[in-house]
Structure formats: C-alpha cells, structure tokens
Symmetry: D2
Subunit: 215 residues, 4 copies
C-alpha cells in the first residue's frame, strides 16, 4: 500500500507551517505502507496540480493532506470538502477568491473515503486529542481536499483521499493568551497513528464511534 502525504508551506505571513514540518518528519514506512511526502504551495491555483502530478508519478492508493487550523486544540480528520473558495486572506500568490465555486461541474461537496472516526480513535489511543471535523473551512485547505476528491471522481476512481487539520505549534503562539497548540513531535505521532488506522481499516470502512458534534 502506498500513501501520499501532503503538507502546505507557510502562509499568511508565518515563517513556519506545522503541516509540512510534520509531514517531513514522518517515517518512510508506517504499518507496512510506503509513505511518500510532498510539499504543496498554499496557492489556490497551484496546489492541486502539484498533487495531481504526484498521483500520476507515484500512483498512491491513498492521499492524506495535512493543513494547519489555528485555534483548534486537537488533530481533526475532516469528513467533507465543499465546492467553495472564500478567502479570509490572500494566498501565497496574492489571490483572494470570494464566494467562488471550485469546479463549476463538480458536486456541492465530497465526503472523504478515509475512516475518520477510526483515525480519531487511533490518535486518542496514543494519548493525543482528536475529534472528527465537519468543516475544512473555505480557504486553500478545503480547496485542496475538494480538488483531490474531484480528481478521484473524474480520473482516479480507485483512489481514497482525505484531509486532517492540526493545531498551531507552541512556537506560533508564544505571546497569545489561551491559544491552544500542539508540539511537532505530537503532530508526527498523531499523523502516524492516523495513517496506522487508514491501513488497518483498509477495505472495511469506518468504525461507528460516537463523536462530539454541534447540534
């Protein structure tokens, strides 16, 4: 089994992004699966092309994308990507789309094929906070998750793909009161556990745990 794990580069004026830092530090093999690591630019127009090229080159069975969600305290596997670009800030190429569809011919949303509850449970089992999320936002993270799903739906039908958000690093919030963070070592442990769950559940679907949720 081959798993392509992508991580975004720094954006919004930051000098680091825990996503690519954690991806770089993953082992080359997890639970018997080969791990391929890929840096992706935080640019609406380009990020999906970079992943598409890697899918063509490396032919992975699974694509797991990692992005930073400042403000969250837990590792959060995402359930769904929506067909909407709406930037709070410009991306790294200076683009800031407002209320635009990602694909005119695409679905309103795509659910992930990854076992998000099993991933969250596996992360918690190694002693880290994790919860399933139902929104990847409307910035480049959701954009990439959506685009990879669109690629799957239109060109790579056997692919399984998904996204996980991770918190700020402690070094990003040194002077902010009450902003949660997680260490890079824990990001690596958490992503590794999540990938272990992806491998373990392969072909068997998700587990039916009860998760916190909005009303």
């Amino acid at each position: 089994m081959k798993i392509l794990v992508t991580g975004f580069d720094p954006f919004g004026g930051a000098t680091t992004n825990p996503a690519i830092e954690a991806v770089r530090r993953l082992p080359d093999e997890i639970a018997g699966a080969t791990i391929i690591k890929l840096e992706v630019p935080t640019v609406f127009d380009r990020c999906a092309d970079v992943v598409r090229q890697a899918i063509l080159t490396d032919q992975p069975d699974v694509v797991l994308s990692i992005g930073q969600a400042g403000g969250r305290a837990a590792l959060t596997p995402e359930r769904i990507a929506i067909n909407l670009n709406d930037g709070r800030i410009p991306d790294n190429a200076g683009q800031q789309p407002i209320d635009q569809s990602i694909q005119e011919a695409g679905a309103a949303a795509y659910f992930t094929q990854l076992p998000v509850k099993a991933m969250a449970r596996a992360i918690r089992a190694v002693g880290l906070p994790s919860q399933v999320s139902t929104t990847a936002g409307t910035y480049v993270c959701n954009h990439l998750m959506y685009q990879v799903q669109y690629l799957r739906a239109t060109a790579f039908p056997t692919l399984r793909a998904g996204f996980m958000h991770i918190p700020f690093l402690p070094s990003q919030v040194t002077a902010q009161s009450n902003q949660p963070s997680l260490s890079l070592a824990d990001d690596v442990r958490g992503i590794t556990a999540a990938i272990g769950a992806i491998v373990a559940r392969d072909g068997r679907g998700d587990v039916p745990t009860i998760e916190d949720s909005l009303n």
Copy 2:
C-alpha cells in the same frame, strides 16, 4: 413575500430552547414580509414532515430554520447542509443514528439559497455578533436544513431556504465558566435583522464581504 420561520423544541434534557422561544417572539411582519412561525420537534424522523406540511399549507417563498448551537458566541447563518446523520446524543424520540445518509438519492450537500453574508452583516449592523458558518453539525439541525433543501430540489423549485444557529441563553449557562450566551431579546433582534437582509437582497444574491474562516 412570505417567510416561514421554524424553531426547534427543547432537547438533550434541557427545559428550554432559545430557537423556538425567539421564533415565537418575532413580529408578524418584517420589512414588508409576512412571517409564519412554526415549532418543529427535535426528532430526526419527524422534523422535516412538519416543515413539509407547512410549506404545502402556507406556500412560503422562504424557509428560515433556527436552531441552538451551544458553545457559539454569535448568530451564525449556515452556508451548507450535508447528507449525514450522526448523533452525539439521542433525539427527542430516542433515536441516535450513527453515520447514516439522510437521503440515499440526495446530493452530498446543498448550499443555502439565502444571502448568508448579507444576513451576518445586517446582524452586526444592529450591534450583535454574527459570522457565517460552514458547518451545521451532524445532528437534527443539519438534518432539517438538508431535508428542506432536498424538498426544494425535488418538489419546490422556487423555494429559498436556509438555517441560522443561535447561542445558548444566559439562563442555560449560569454555572458554567466561560460558556458564551446571548439574550432572547438579542436573538429576536438578530433574527429580525437577518430576515430584513433576506428581503432586501431578494433576487440579487449575496454581498461579497470578507468573512473569518478556517484555513
């Protein structure tokens, strides 16, 4: 113009739900539109039938559903409903679906037809906190928002429909530290402002404000 405004009854052991309390206190006319008020049971299997019956009877142009989102500090118009029931707790009929589709033949998600950014802006203009949300959760609120969209897609093509979450009331969080709340009077003012924006933007789409969002 006729607007059906729905509010859920209390659930999860609570004795009150700000949603139906606020809906009951709305004026009968807002910005020239006639307001029809409807209480809806917090039950997966029944809530949509009650709204469908009211659509048939009252023939509204717009359906705006209101629900409580404990933990949020602002009034949050929802962008999208997803095809998923996943209950953290049982509903008022004791049902707790886990990871089930709402409609096998439905879309993965439906975007609202309501001008969510104009609604948020109008709420802020009357001095209340508001932000657009990209998740209505996976409980009965999302279920109802999805089902009304499914009705629109399959039976009422001219309907515009959407959902707005409101915070806890102060009386629901008297002993909880740091749980945000909003008063019933402010809920009524905020929903009234949002409806004013729905009327004002009718036929013209949304406004392109920049909103906070996850990365």
Copy 3:
C-alpha cells in the same frame, strides 16, 4: 442603607464601556437601599480621588465598583485587590505604570467585605452566568478596588467595598469570533441582583457555596 455604585468611562480606544452604561440604568432604590451612581475616569491617578470625594459627600455604607473584563462570559464579583499597577495599555491620561506598587505603606492585598458568593448565587438565580473571581487584573480596575480598600483601612473603617467585572457588550464584539458578551439589560439585572444580595446578607457574612476555581 446607602450604596455608592461606580462605573468606568470608555478606555483603550472604545467608544462605550458597559460599566458606566449599566450603572446609569440602575434603579434609584434596590431592596430598600438607596443607590448613588458615579462615573469614574479610567485613569490610575484620578479614579480613587473621585470615589473618595463621593464617599465624603454621600457617606455610603457600601461602595460597589463595576468594570469591564473583555473576554469573560459571566458577571464576576472579585474577592481581592492586589498592590500592583501593571498596564497592558496606557490609561485615559496616557499613563502606563509597569510593576509599581499602588501604596508603599499598603498591604499586599485586601479582601473585599462584600458577600461575593451570595452575589454570584443571586445573579445565577435571575438566570445569568456568574462566578466568583480571584483576580481583578493589574490595570485601573484592580487599582480602584485596591484604593477604595486602602481608604477603608486608613480612613473609613465602617465601609464595606468591592468590585464586580462584567463582560463585553454584544455591540463590542460584532466581528470577533467566539468572544463572549452580555447585553446591557442583563448587566443591569445582574448588578441589581448582586446588590440585592449585598443588602440581604448585610451583617451576616457570605454564604458557603462551592464555586469553580483553578487548581
């Protein structure tokens, strides 16, 4: 019984301060006690003089000062004032003391004489969030609370005095995500309930409720 209730004017670039707005709207009599209202400047060097003058003029039995604590979700009666000025921002006269004692000859801290737990319980009984606090900060609020205690200790031995923080108004946080707020009407109701408890417990000390607290 005569109660002097003070409220600060706007500071830090804000155009409103819920403290003075709420104080202005209090009734002139609460639970049989006469209420005297006083606006106080958010200035380290001047606020205590204004209160001292009012104590001399009005001869109150109790001084209750009200201040805004942005970020808190509840009305929080303060237990204690500490002998420290340390400004995060300048006051309304441009002063920003850093790590200075308020009174060289003063105690390290003074506990309030007001029944803070009875106040919190009375506020919760009218359906509003309230918790006892153990820090009034190190800005002008703590300064005034300390100075009134110092006046009591040195010049007005029969006075009972204390402080209560109140949250932002909704209109102060319209565009901030997850910032809690409370309406002016609820501030007035909460302060009124707290004053009712001060009157009811007069001469009998506080009630021994169990309150949330840090470890």
Copy 4:
C-alpha cells in the same frame, strides 16, 4: 545556587499530574544551579510540611513549585498567593475547606520574589507560550505557594520562592473538544528556561516587559 523544585502528585481522580512528571525529568543542574526535586502530596494539611522539611534538609536558595492548571494554554508564573482555602473538590485526603484563611496571623497575600516576567520571556524565547498570572486559584496550589511564602516571612528570610502553573498534558484531554494542552517535553523545556531566568536575574529583580492582563 541551589533550587528546590516541587511537583504535586495526581488529584481529582486523575492518574497523572504533569507537575510531578515534569519535575522528575528536569536535569540535575540548570545554568550552574543545583536542582533538587521533590514530590508533594495534593493535600492542604500536608503539602507545606513536606516542603518545610526539604528546606531544612537541603537549604535551597530558591523554591519553585509547579502545579497543573487545567484549561490554561500557557506556562504561567504566578505573581501572588492569597490567604484563602476554598476547594472546588476535595483534596487527596478528602478535605474540602470552604472560605478559610490559611494563616490567621498571615498577610492577606504575598508577592513572589521570583522574576515572573523574565521567566515568561525566557519561556517564550525557547518557543513556548507563557504569560504572567495574577491568580493561583484557591485550591492546594495557591495554598502551597502561600505557605512557602509564610515560611519565608516567618522563618527563612533569605529564601526566594514562587509558583508556576502548567497546562494539561495532551493525554489528559484526548476526548475533550477545545481543551488546550502541552507536552511533557515542552513542560520540561519551559521549566528549564524559567529556572535559567531565575538564575540569570538573581539579585537584579525582574524585567519591565509589558504583559497581557485583565482590565
């Protein structure tokens, strides 16, 4: 220079306490100072005796006590301890004092002799979140900080003493949404940096940085 660093044992039903775990993992020498490590029971009546005995035996120049503050996101050096026991929950001996003075003859509060701003700055300089705190609560943490100050005031006049709170560990909040945490490795790094600042500022007082604070 000799520094006694104390850490509490688990309490409130928890099986671990990051305080003692981090203290155990400190190096035996930091910035030239000898580090003596001491486990302290989370018991109002006993914790101070254990520290007093260690002061007599080891004759440290500085006592730094470490405790867990669930809910905080940063390492928080404490400015002040107050003369009040008020337990939200019983301690490990089943005692739950409500609104009791710690020392009838003690001051209302004692400020720390440690350079809390220099400690916070040093922690931030190693990439971890830190803020000065003005409340250690009213449970066993504040109790111990107060009692060590009382010992200093009454028996060990050359001692410098203080307290620092640390967040939950990730493993303590795996299933809680939005509860911040910090890893044990980062606790050790942060405490080490704080001790480095204590040594570096010895005899020179604190640094006049501007810190966040309540109003």
